[in-house]
Amino acid sequence: MNVPADLKYTTSHEWVRTEADGTITVGITEFAQDALGDIVFVDLPKVGTALEAGKDCAVVESVKAAGDIYAPVTGEVVAINEELADAPESINADAFAAWLFKLKPSNIADVDALMNAEAYAKNIA
């Protein structure tokens, strides 16, 4: 299963990409979308919401189940992927392109503590 080397990961199957402007982009992994099946609804936090690391902050629902999304680190929501409202299935098509939201972490060093690709690949093996 695809696990891009340049991303960080959580045990709850979110991926995290650090951007040049110091924000992070968050999505769900290939493994997570495959486990959920056909995705039909995404509920995202509002821009400006303060998120706490490890707390549920969004929901991705497939035909068969609802999956909670957890904030990978503490921070503030600075953008959400509005396109998912009308095209939630784009997560199935490419989980690493169809991001959910962008965060400004309170402490960017928190991102370093997340799993790297190698550790995550072992985690889902």
């Binding site: 495959d34 099946g37 056909d38 039909v40 609804f41 509920d43 929901v59 629902e61 035909v63 068969k64 609802a66 409202a85 889902i124």
Partner: protein, 376 residues
């Protein structure tokens, strides 16, 4: 991904599912395909063309003996005296004395000495134990034979969709003459086909036309492969669930079980309280009456998908969703719900989803039948 298949039961088609790349799940102790890629595509294949399901985890039970009809008169809540022509089938519940549901099943009549039941997978053992106990208690002297394991085991394949019968006849041309004649809820047994003796029943769990076909377990893989070659799309339990939900059909263990009165689960049409006949659970149902309604819901606001166990807030009190999903045909969240008496079709109610209360309309079931959306 970890495989936990070692302790699970498998149907004779297990290897065929795995070879086709199915995602396998533990379904009540059975290692079953939930989809072969996309549940939604499989769903649409059944609504618009033809799909097939391995339902060999369900259990065929043959009841034989002189007293089989009178035994069934007492055993099941629907009236087996509706079965007078060989091959006719009847959907019924089997109830506990307290009026709750042991299982829902189909009874087929073949002769006065031979009726056949098809019961649910997870309930088969308790069903047979219950029937054996009743057989002894009533001195009926029946022979009760399960046909799921061992010698003479059947595998069951449901071929469903507007083109299902035509596709099935391509593979089983010997059955066409007999099975083209039968109306829905009838079956024929054809002895000499290229896959041995088969039972072809015009039944299903999708709201589409089609057949449920019982074939010898040791011939089923070649039968399945022949259907694939004829263009029938394998579909998993995921699509089976969205199809039956759109069709407004109950699922045992979810919409009703041993704690639920069938009158509250939309099954009054299967309970014969009119004839003089006594059956297990009758007295309890007459005493309790109906205390809830079983209706459909369509979610009218964005904010989630309807799911089992969500609370429904109505003017008359609270109800509960028993099955919910996203309907691939309607492109809306839909549900089956147990609602207070007094709620009417057309009412707006509110479903509690996480921290929200979202508006939903109450509709008559089914949502979809024969490819057409009926509930709007």
């Amino acid at each position: 991904m970890t495989q936990t298949a070692t302790s699970l039961k498998a149907t004779p088609l297990n290897a065929a599912h795995r070879a086709a790349g199915a995602k396998m799940v533990d379904f009540g102790g059975w290692d079953m395909p939930v989809n072969y890629g996309s549940q939604i595509e499989e769903h649409h294949a059944v609504r618009t063309d033809c799909g097939m399901f391995d339902v060999s985890h369900m259990c065929v039970v043959d009841l034989q003996g002189e007293n089989v009809r009178s035994f069934l008169r007492g055993l099941v809540a629907n009236n087996v005296d509706k079965l007078q022509v060989a091959g006719k089938a009847l959907y019924s519940c089997m109830l506990k004395p307290e009026g709750t549901v042991i299982d829902d099943l189909i009874v087929y009549f073949f002769s006065e000495n031979w009726f056949r039941l098809v019961v649910n997978a997870g309930t088969a053992e308790k069903d047979i134990a219950w029937m054996n106990a009743r057989n002894a208690e009533t001195n009926s002297g029946l022979t009760i034979t399960q046909r799921r394991d061992g010698a003479n085991a059947f595998a069951l394949v449901a071929v469903q969709g507007p083109n299902a019968r035509a596709k099935a006849w391509e593979v089983l041309p010997e059955t066409k003459a007999a099975s083209a004649e039968i109306k829905p809820f009838n079956a024929v047994i054809v002895a000499d086909t290229s896959f041995g003796e088969v039972m072809v029943a015009r039944t299903g769990y999708t709201g589409e036309d089609g057949f449920e076909i019982a074939v010898s377990a040791d011939r089923v893989t070649e039968f399945w492969n022949a259907l694939v070659a004829a263009g029938v799309k394998p579909a998993g339990l995921g699509a089976r669930d969205t199809l039956r939900l759109e069709a407004g059909m109950n699922l045992y263990g979810q919409d009703m079980d041993e704690t639920v009165n069938p009158l509250d689960a939309g099954l009054a049409w299967t309970i014969d309280l009119v004839s003089e006949r006594d059956f297990v659970g009758k007295q309890a149902l007459q005493t309790q009456g109906q205390n809830a309604q079983f209706l459909g819901l369509i979610l009218r606001e964005k904010g989630g998908i309807l799911r089992a166990h969500q609370k429904v807030v109505c003017a008359q009190g609270e109800g509960e969703i028993t099955s919910g999903t996203f309907s691939p045909t309607m492109q809306q969240a839909i549900a089956l719900a147990r609602l207070p008496m007094g709620v009417s079709v057309g009412d707006t109610v509110h479903v509690v989803i996480r921290d929200k209360q979202l508006a939903a309309s109450v509709v008559k079931l089914p949502f979809v039948r024969n490819g057409k959306i009926l509930a709007v």
